[in-house]
Subunit: 209 residues, 2 copies
Protein backbone atom coordinates (compact mmCIF):
# COMPACT_ATOMS: atom_id res chain seq x y z
CA UNK A 1 0.00 0.00 0.00
CA UNK A 2 1.57 3.27 -1.12
CA UNK A 3 1.73 5.89 1.61
CA UNK A 4 3.38 8.17 -0.94
CA UNK A 5 0.03 9.85 -1.40
CA UNK A 6 0.23 11.24 2.08
CA UNK A 7 3.33 13.12 3.25
CA UNK A 8 1.58 13.69 6.55
CA UNK A 9 1.47 9.96 7.18
CA UNK A 10 5.02 9.35 6.01
CA UNK A 11 6.23 11.76 8.64
CA UNK A 12 3.79 10.31 11.18
CA UNK A 13 4.00 6.55 11.51
CA UNK A 14 6.88 4.81 9.81
CA UNK A 15 5.85 1.53 8.19
CA UNK A 16 9.41 0.20 8.04
CA UNK A 17 8.28 -3.09 6.50
CA UNK A 18 5.24 -4.88 5.13
CA UNK A 19 4.86 -6.71 8.45
CA UNK A 20 4.87 -3.54 10.49
CA UNK A 21 2.44 -1.94 8.05
CA UNK A 22 0.14 -4.94 8.32
CA UNK A 23 0.51 -4.86 12.09
CA UNK A 24 -0.39 -1.16 12.19
CA UNK A 25 -3.34 -1.79 9.86
CA UNK A 26 -4.52 -4.55 12.20
CA UNK A 27 -4.14 -2.26 15.22
CA UNK A 28 -6.07 0.52 13.50
CA UNK A 29 -8.80 -1.85 12.36
CA UNK A 30 -9.22 -3.39 15.80
CA UNK A 31 -9.13 -0.02 17.57
CA UNK A 32 -11.48 1.49 15.00
CA UNK A 33 -14.05 -1.26 15.52
CA UNK A 34 -14.03 -0.66 19.29
CA UNK A 35 -14.12 3.14 18.92
CA UNK A 36 -17.01 3.02 16.43
CA UNK A 37 -18.98 0.76 18.75
CA UNK A 38 -18.26 2.50 22.06
CA UNK A 39 -17.21 6.00 21.05
CA UNK A 40 -13.68 7.34 21.45
CA UNK A 41 -14.04 8.69 24.97
CA UNK A 42 -15.53 5.46 26.31
CA UNK A 43 -12.76 3.37 24.74
CA UNK A 44 -9.71 2.58 26.89
CA UNK A 45 -6.21 1.67 25.73
CA UNK A 46 -6.55 -1.46 27.86
CA UNK A 47 -9.54 -2.65 25.84
CA UNK A 48 -7.69 -2.05 22.59
CA UNK A 49 -4.57 -3.79 23.85
CA UNK A 50 -6.47 -6.85 25.09
CA UNK A 51 -8.49 -7.03 21.85
CA UNK A 52 -5.10 -7.27 20.10
CA UNK A 53 -3.68 -9.74 22.63
CA UNK A 54 -1.10 -7.10 23.50
CA UNK A 55 -0.07 -5.72 26.84
CA UNK A 56 -0.64 -1.98 27.21
CA UNK A 57 3.14 -1.60 26.95
CA UNK A 58 3.11 -3.71 23.80
CA UNK A 59 0.50 -1.41 22.28
CA UNK A 60 2.58 1.65 23.17
CA UNK A 61 5.39 0.12 21.12
CA UNK A 62 3.27 0.89 18.07
CA UNK A 63 1.50 4.09 19.08
CA UNK A 64 2.21 7.08 21.29
CA UNK A 65 -1.16 7.42 23.00
CA UNK A 66 -4.91 7.44 22.58
CA UNK A 67 -5.19 10.72 20.65
CA UNK A 68 -2.23 9.68 18.52
CA UNK A 69 -3.99 6.39 17.80
CA UNK A 70 -7.16 8.23 16.76
CA UNK A 71 -5.16 10.55 14.50
CA UNK A 72 -3.28 7.59 13.00
CA UNK A 73 -6.55 5.78 12.24
CA UNK A 74 -7.84 8.89 10.45
CA UNK A 75 -4.58 9.34 8.54
CA UNK A 76 -4.70 5.67 7.61
CA UNK A 77 -8.30 6.05 6.37
CA UNK A 78 -7.42 9.15 4.33
CA UNK A 79 -4.40 7.33 2.90
CA UNK A 80 -6.68 4.52 1.75
CA UNK A 81 -9.09 7.04 0.23
CA UNK A 82 -6.20 8.78 -1.54
CA UNK A 83 -4.81 5.53 -2.87
CA UNK A 84 -8.02 3.69 -3.80
CA UNK A 85 -10.21 6.61 -4.86
CA UNK A 86 -8.69 10.05 -5.24
CA UNK A 87 -5.39 9.31 -7.01
CA UNK A 88 -6.83 7.02 -9.71
CA UNK A 89 -10.00 9.15 -10.07
CA UNK A 90 -7.97 12.30 -10.75
CA UNK A 91 -6.58 10.60 -13.86
CA UNK A 92 -10.07 10.24 -15.38
CA UNK A 93 -10.85 13.08 -17.78
CA UNK A 94 -14.58 12.59 -18.32
CA UNK A 95 -16.52 13.82 -15.25
CA UNK A 96 -19.32 11.23 -15.60
CA UNK A 97 -16.80 8.39 -15.79
CA UNK A 98 -14.90 9.99 -12.90
CA UNK A 99 -18.07 10.19 -10.79
CA UNK A 100 -19.00 6.56 -11.50
CA UNK A 101 -15.49 5.44 -10.58
CA UNK A 102 -15.37 7.56 -7.44
CA UNK A 103 -18.74 6.41 -6.11
CA UNK A 104 -18.12 2.75 -6.92
CA UNK A 105 -14.68 2.85 -5.29
CA UNK A 106 -15.76 4.82 -2.23
CA UNK A 107 -18.91 2.75 -1.64
CA UNK A 108 -16.72 -0.33 -2.16
CA UNK A 109 -14.44 0.49 0.74
CA UNK A 110 -16.53 -1.51 3.20
CA UNK A 111 -13.35 -3.26 4.34
CA UNK A 112 -12.27 0.08 5.85
CA UNK A 113 -15.75 1.17 6.83
CA UNK A 114 -14.93 1.52 10.53
CA UNK A 115 -11.81 3.60 9.95
CA UNK A 116 -13.79 5.85 7.62
CA UNK A 117 -16.63 6.23 10.13
CA UNK A 118 -14.13 7.55 12.64
CA UNK A 119 -13.15 10.21 10.13
CA UNK A 120 -16.76 11.34 10.21
CA UNK A 121 -17.50 11.02 13.90
CA UNK A 122 -14.47 11.58 16.09
CA UNK A 123 -12.77 14.68 14.68
CA UNK A 124 -13.73 16.64 17.81
CA UNK A 125 -11.48 14.39 19.92
CA UNK A 126 -8.33 15.35 18.00
CA UNK A 127 -5.78 17.94 19.07
CA UNK A 128 -6.15 21.28 17.25
CA UNK A 129 -3.11 20.62 15.06
CA UNK A 130 -4.24 17.11 14.12
CA UNK A 131 -7.82 18.29 13.58
CA UNK A 132 -6.70 20.99 11.13
CA UNK A 133 -4.68 18.43 9.21
CA UNK A 134 -7.51 15.90 8.94
CA UNK A 135 -10.14 18.52 8.10
CA UNK A 136 -7.84 19.81 5.35
CA UNK A 137 -7.54 16.34 3.82
CA UNK A 138 -11.32 15.81 4.07
CA UNK A 139 -12.00 19.22 2.50
CA UNK A 140 -9.65 18.22 -0.30
CA UNK A 141 -11.69 15.10 -1.07
CA UNK A 142 -15.00 16.90 -0.72
CA UNK A 143 -13.88 19.62 -3.15
CA UNK A 144 -12.84 16.97 -5.66
CA UNK A 145 -16.33 15.39 -5.62
CA UNK A 146 -18.02 18.80 -5.68
CA UNK A 147 -15.88 19.96 -8.62
CA UNK A 148 -16.84 16.81 -10.55
CA UNK A 149 -20.54 17.63 -10.01
CA UNK A 150 -19.94 21.21 -11.17
CA UNK A 151 -18.30 19.87 -14.34
CA UNK A 152 -21.26 17.55 -14.94
CA UNK A 153 -23.58 20.50 -14.44
CA UNK A 154 -21.67 22.52 -17.06
CA UNK A 155 -22.08 19.57 -19.42
CA UNK A 156 -25.83 19.54 -18.71
CA UNK A 157 -25.62 16.02 -17.30
CA UNK A 158 -26.43 16.85 -13.67
CA UNK A 159 -30.05 16.96 -12.55
CA UNK A 160 -31.34 20.26 -11.19
CA UNK A 161 -29.23 19.91 -8.04
CA UNK A 162 -27.04 22.22 -6.01
CA UNK A 163 -23.54 20.67 -6.37
CA UNK A 164 -22.59 21.53 -2.79
CA UNK A 165 -25.70 19.99 -1.20
CA UNK A 166 -25.44 17.01 -3.56
CA UNK A 167 -21.80 16.42 -2.61
CA UNK A 168 -22.65 16.70 1.09
CA UNK A 169 -25.48 14.20 0.60
CA UNK A 170 -23.22 11.79 -1.30
CA UNK A 171 -20.83 11.72 1.64
CA UNK A 172 -23.77 11.34 4.00
CA UNK A 173 -24.98 8.21 2.27
CA UNK A 174 -21.56 6.67 1.70
CA UNK A 175 -20.37 7.34 5.25
CA UNK A 176 -23.73 6.04 6.46
CA UNK A 177 -22.88 2.58 5.10
CA UNK A 178 -20.59 2.11 8.08
CA UNK A 179 -23.56 2.49 10.40
CA UNK A 180 -25.50 -0.43 8.96
CA UNK A 181 -23.05 -2.63 7.04
CA UNK A 182 -22.24 -5.93 8.75
CA UNK A 183 -19.14 -7.76 7.44
CA UNK A 184 -20.76 -11.01 8.64
CA UNK A 185 -24.17 -10.09 7.23
CA UNK A 186 -25.83 -11.47 4.09
CA UNK A 187 -25.29 -8.26 2.05
CA UNK A 188 -21.94 -8.67 0.30
CA UNK A 189 -19.56 -5.71 -0.14
CA UNK A 190 -19.83 -5.81 -3.95
CA UNK A 191 -23.63 -5.68 -3.80
CA UNK A 192 -23.59 -2.82 -1.29
CA UNK A 193 -21.15 -0.83 -3.43
CA UNK A 194 -23.04 -1.51 -6.66
CA UNK A 195 -26.45 -0.70 -5.15
CA UNK A 196 -25.26 2.45 -3.38
CA UNK A 197 -23.57 3.90 -6.43
CA UNK A 198 -26.57 2.97 -8.60
CA UNK A 199 -28.90 4.86 -6.24
CA UNK A 200 -26.61 7.89 -6.17
CA UNK A 201 -25.92 7.94 -9.92
CA UNK A 202 -29.65 7.63 -10.64
CA UNK A 203 -30.28 10.61 -8.43
CA UNK A 204 -27.42 12.73 -9.71
CA UNK A 205 -27.39 12.15 -13.46
CA UNK A 206 -30.13 13.10 -15.92
CA UNK A 207 -29.44 10.05 -18.08
CA UNK A 208 -28.63 6.86 -16.21
CA UNK A 209 -27.73 3.37 -17.27
CA UNK B 1 -47.39 18.52 19.98
CA UNK B 2 -49.24 15.23 20.24
CA UNK B 3 -47.40 12.62 22.26
CA UNK B 4 -50.36 10.32 21.69
CA UNK B 5 -48.39 8.62 18.94
CA UNK B 6 -46.02 7.25 21.50
CA UNK B 7 -47.30 5.43 24.56
CA UNK B 8 -43.68 4.84 25.58
CA UNK B 9 -43.15 8.55 25.91
CA UNK B 10 -46.44 9.19 27.65
CA UNK B 11 -45.37 6.85 30.38
CA UNK B 12 -41.87 8.32 30.37
CA UNK B 13 -41.78 12.11 30.66
CA UNK B 14 -45.02 13.83 31.54
CA UNK B 15 -45.52 17.13 29.72
CA UNK B 16 -48.10 18.40 32.16
CA UNK B 17 -48.45 21.71 30.31
CA UNK B 18 -47.31 23.51 27.18
CA UNK B 19 -44.69 25.37 29.21
CA UNK B 20 -43.19 22.22 30.68
CA UNK B 21 -43.26 20.56 27.26
CA UNK B 22 -41.47 23.55 25.77
CA UNK B 23 -39.02 23.51 28.66
CA UNK B 24 -38.33 19.82 28.11
CA UNK B 25 -37.94 20.40 24.37
CA UNK B 26 -35.45 23.17 25.13
CA UNK B 27 -33.53 20.94 27.52
CA UNK B 28 -33.41 18.13 24.96
CA UNK B 29 -32.35 20.48 22.17
CA UNK B 30 -29.57 22.05 24.24
CA UNK B 31 -28.36 18.72 25.58
CA UNK B 32 -28.56 17.16 22.12
CA UNK B 33 -26.41 19.92 20.61
CA UNK B 34 -23.72 19.36 23.24
CA UNK B 35 -23.90 15.55 22.97
CA UNK B 36 -23.67 15.64 19.16
CA UNK B 37 -20.65 17.93 19.33
CA UNK B 38 -18.76 16.22 22.16
CA UNK B 39 -20.19 12.71 22.25
CA UNK B 40 -22.35 11.39 25.08
CA UNK B 41 -19.56 10.07 27.28
CA UNK B 42 -17.57 13.31 27.10
CA UNK B 43 -20.65 15.40 27.99
CA UNK B 44 -21.23 16.22 31.66
CA UNK B 45 -24.51 17.12 33.36
CA UNK B 46 -22.76 20.28 34.58
CA UNK B 47 -22.14 21.43 31.00
CA UNK B 48 -25.76 20.81 30.08
CA UNK B 49 -27.02 22.59 33.18
CA UNK B 50 -24.84 25.64 32.63
CA UNK B 51 -25.76 25.77 28.93
CA UNK B 52 -29.38 26.00 30.16
CA UNK B 53 -28.54 28.50 32.91
CA UNK B 54 -29.71 25.88 35.40
CA UNK B 55 -28.01 24.56 38.47
CA UNK B 56 -27.33 20.82 38.37
CA UNK B 57 -30.15 20.45 40.91
CA UNK B 58 -32.38 22.53 38.66
CA UNK B 59 -31.64 20.21 35.76
CA UNK B 60 -32.44 17.16 37.90
CA UNK B 61 -35.87 18.66 38.49
CA UNK B 62 -36.61 17.84 34.84
CA UNK B 63 -34.61 14.65 34.31
CA UNK B 64 -33.51 11.68 36.40
CA UNK B 65 -29.94 11.36 35.16
CA UNK B 66 -27.64 11.31 32.18
CA UNK B 67 -28.82 8.02 30.66
CA UNK B 68 -32.43 9.04 31.29
CA UNK B 69 -31.73 12.32 29.49
CA UNK B 70 -30.26 10.47 26.51
CA UNK B 71 -33.25 8.12 26.40
CA UNK B 72 -35.66 11.06 26.68
CA UNK B 73 -33.95 12.86 23.79
CA UNK B 74 -34.30 9.74 21.66
CA UNK B 75 -37.94 9.26 22.67
CA UNK B 76 -38.55 12.93 21.88
CA UNK B 77 -36.94 12.52 18.44
CA UNK B 78 -39.00 9.40 17.71
CA UNK B 79 -42.15 11.22 18.85
CA UNK B 80 -41.40 14.00 16.37
CA UNK B 81 -40.80 11.44 13.61
CA UNK B 82 -44.07 9.70 14.48
CA UNK B 83 -46.00 12.94 14.52
CA UNK B 84 -44.47 14.75 11.53
CA UNK B 85 -43.69 11.81 9.26
CA UNK B 86 -45.00 8.38 10.15
CA UNK B 87 -48.56 9.11 11.26
CA UNK B 88 -49.51 11.36 8.32
CA UNK B 89 -47.56 9.21 5.82
CA UNK B 90 -49.43 6.05 6.86
CA UNK B 91 -52.64 7.72 5.67
CA UNK B 92 -51.31 8.04 2.10
CA UNK B 93 -52.47 5.18 -0.09
CA UNK B 94 -50.26 5.65 -3.16
CA UNK B 95 -46.71 4.45 -2.39
CA UNK B 96 -45.03 7.02 -4.68
CA UNK B 97 -46.94 9.86 -3.05
CA UNK B 98 -46.18 8.31 0.36
CA UNK B 99 -42.45 8.12 -0.44
CA UNK B 100 -42.34 11.74 -1.67
CA UNK B 101 -44.12 12.90 1.48
CA UNK B 102 -41.94 10.80 3.79
CA UNK B 103 -38.65 11.96 2.27
CA UNK B 104 -39.67 15.62 2.11
CA UNK B 105 -40.90 15.56 5.71
CA UNK B 106 -37.95 13.63 7.09
CA UNK B 107 -35.35 15.68 5.22
CA UNK B 108 -37.24 18.77 6.38
CA UNK B 109 -36.75 17.99 10.06
CA UNK B 110 -33.55 20.02 10.23
CA UNK B 111 -34.94 21.80 13.30
CA UNK B 112 -34.60 18.48 15.17
CA UNK B 113 -31.47 17.38 13.37
CA UNK B 114 -29.37 17.08 16.54
CA UNK B 115 -31.95 15.01 18.39
CA UNK B 116 -32.24 12.73 15.37
CA UNK B 117 -28.45 12.36 15.08
CA UNK B 118 -28.38 11.09 18.63
CA UNK B 119 -30.85 8.39 17.63
CA UNK B 120 -28.27 7.25 15.09
CA UNK B 121 -25.09 7.61 17.13
CA UNK B 122 -25.63 7.08 20.84
CA UNK B 123 -27.81 3.98 21.12
CA UNK B 124 -24.86 2.05 22.60
CA UNK B 125 -24.94 4.34 25.67
CA UNK B 126 -28.51 3.35 26.61
CA UNK B 127 -29.49 0.79 29.22
CA UNK B 128 -30.52 -2.56 27.72
CA UNK B 129 -34.19 -1.93 28.38
CA UNK B 130 -34.12 1.56 26.87
CA UNK B 131 -32.01 0.36 23.92
CA UNK B 132 -34.54 -2.35 23.07
CA UNK B 133 -37.34 0.19 23.17
CA UNK B 134 -35.58 2.71 20.92
CA UNK B 135 -34.36 0.07 18.47
CA UNK B 136 -37.92 -1.25 18.24
CA UNK B 137 -39.24 2.22 17.35
CA UNK B 138 -36.45 2.73 14.80
CA UNK B 139 -37.07 -0.69 13.26
CA UNK B 140 -40.74 0.27 12.99
CA UNK B 141 -39.88 3.37 10.95
CA UNK B 142 -37.31 1.56 8.83
CA UNK B 143 -39.83 -1.19 7.98
CA UNK B 144 -42.37 1.43 6.97
CA UNK B 145 -39.92 2.99 4.46
CA UNK B 146 -38.75 -0.40 3.25
CA UNK B 147 -42.36 -1.60 2.75
CA UNK B 148 -43.09 1.51 0.68
CA UNK B 149 -40.13 0.69 -1.58
CA UNK B 150 -41.34 -2.91 -1.91
CA UNK B 151 -44.78 -1.61 -2.96
CA UNK B 152 -43.16 0.69 -5.53
CA UNK B 153 -41.16 -2.26 -6.82
CA UNK B 154 -44.36 -4.32 -7.22
CA UNK B 155 -45.79 -1.40 -9.22
CA UNK B 156 -42.66 -1.38 -11.42
CA UNK B 157 -41.83 2.17 -10.32
CA UNK B 158 -38.65 1.39 -8.37
CA UNK B 159 -35.31 1.26 -10.18
CA UNK B 160 -33.43 -2.02 -10.12
CA UNK B 161 -32.65 -1.61 -6.41
CA UNK B 162 -32.70 -3.89 -3.39
CA UNK B 163 -35.40 -2.31 -1.15
CA UNK B 164 -33.48 -3.13 2.03
CA UNK B 165 -30.19 -1.57 0.89
CA UNK B 166 -32.08 1.36 -0.63
CA UNK B 167 -33.94 1.99 2.65
CA UNK B 168 -30.69 1.77 4.62
CA UNK B 169 -29.08 4.25 2.21
CA UNK B 170 -32.04 6.63 2.47
CA UNK B 171 -31.59 6.76 6.23
CA UNK B 172 -27.85 7.15 5.77
CA UNK B 173 -28.27 10.26 3.64
CA UNK B 174 -31.08 11.81 5.68
CA UNK B 175 -29.34 11.19 9.00
CA UNK B 176 -26.14 12.48 7.42
CA UNK B 177 -27.73 15.93 7.04
CA UNK B 178 -27.19 16.45 10.76
CA UNK B 179 -23.46 16.08 10.24
CA UNK B 180 -23.13 18.97 7.81
CA UNK B 181 -26.24 21.15 8.21
CA UNK B 182 -25.61 24.48 9.96
CA UNK B 183 -28.72 26.31 11.24
CA UNK B 184 -26.76 29.57 10.85
CA UNK B 185 -25.38 28.61 7.43
CA UNK B 186 -26.50 29.93 4.06
CA UNK B 187 -28.31 26.72 3.07
CA UNK B 188 -31.90 27.13 4.24
CA UNK B 189 -33.86 24.17 5.68
CA UNK B 190 -36.40 24.23 2.83
CA UNK B 191 -33.65 24.05 0.21
CA UNK B 192 -31.86 21.24 2.02
CA UNK B 193 -35.09 19.24 2.30
CA UNK B 194 -36.08 19.88 -1.32
CA UNK B 195 -32.63 19.06 -2.70
CA UNK B 196 -32.18 15.94 -0.56
CA UNK B 197 -35.55 14.46 -1.46
CA UNK B 198 -35.00 15.33 -5.13
CA UNK B 199 -31.67 13.47 -5.13
CA UNK B 200 -33.22 10.45 -3.41
CA UNK B 201 -36.38 10.35 -5.53
CA UNK B 202 -34.31 10.63 -8.70
CA UNK B 203 -32.24 7.67 -7.58
CA UNK B 204 -35.15 5.55 -6.38
CA UNK B 205 -37.87 6.08 -8.99
CA UNK B 206 -37.72 5.07 -12.64
CA UNK B 207 -39.74 8.08 -13.73
CA UNK B 208 -38.93 11.31 -11.91
CA UNK B 209 -40.32 14.79 -12.06
Amino acid sequence: MAFGDSPATNSHHKASSIESFDRLAQIYRTAAAIIVQKGFDATSMNEIASALDLTKAGLYHYIRGKEDLLFSIMQFAMDIVDEKVLTPARKIQDPEERLRFTLARHAGMTKYVKEITILAEEVAALSDEHRDLILERKRHYFEFVRATLVELNEQGKLRDLDPTIAALNIFGMVLGIARWYRPDGKLGPEKVAEQTSRLLLGGLLKSTE
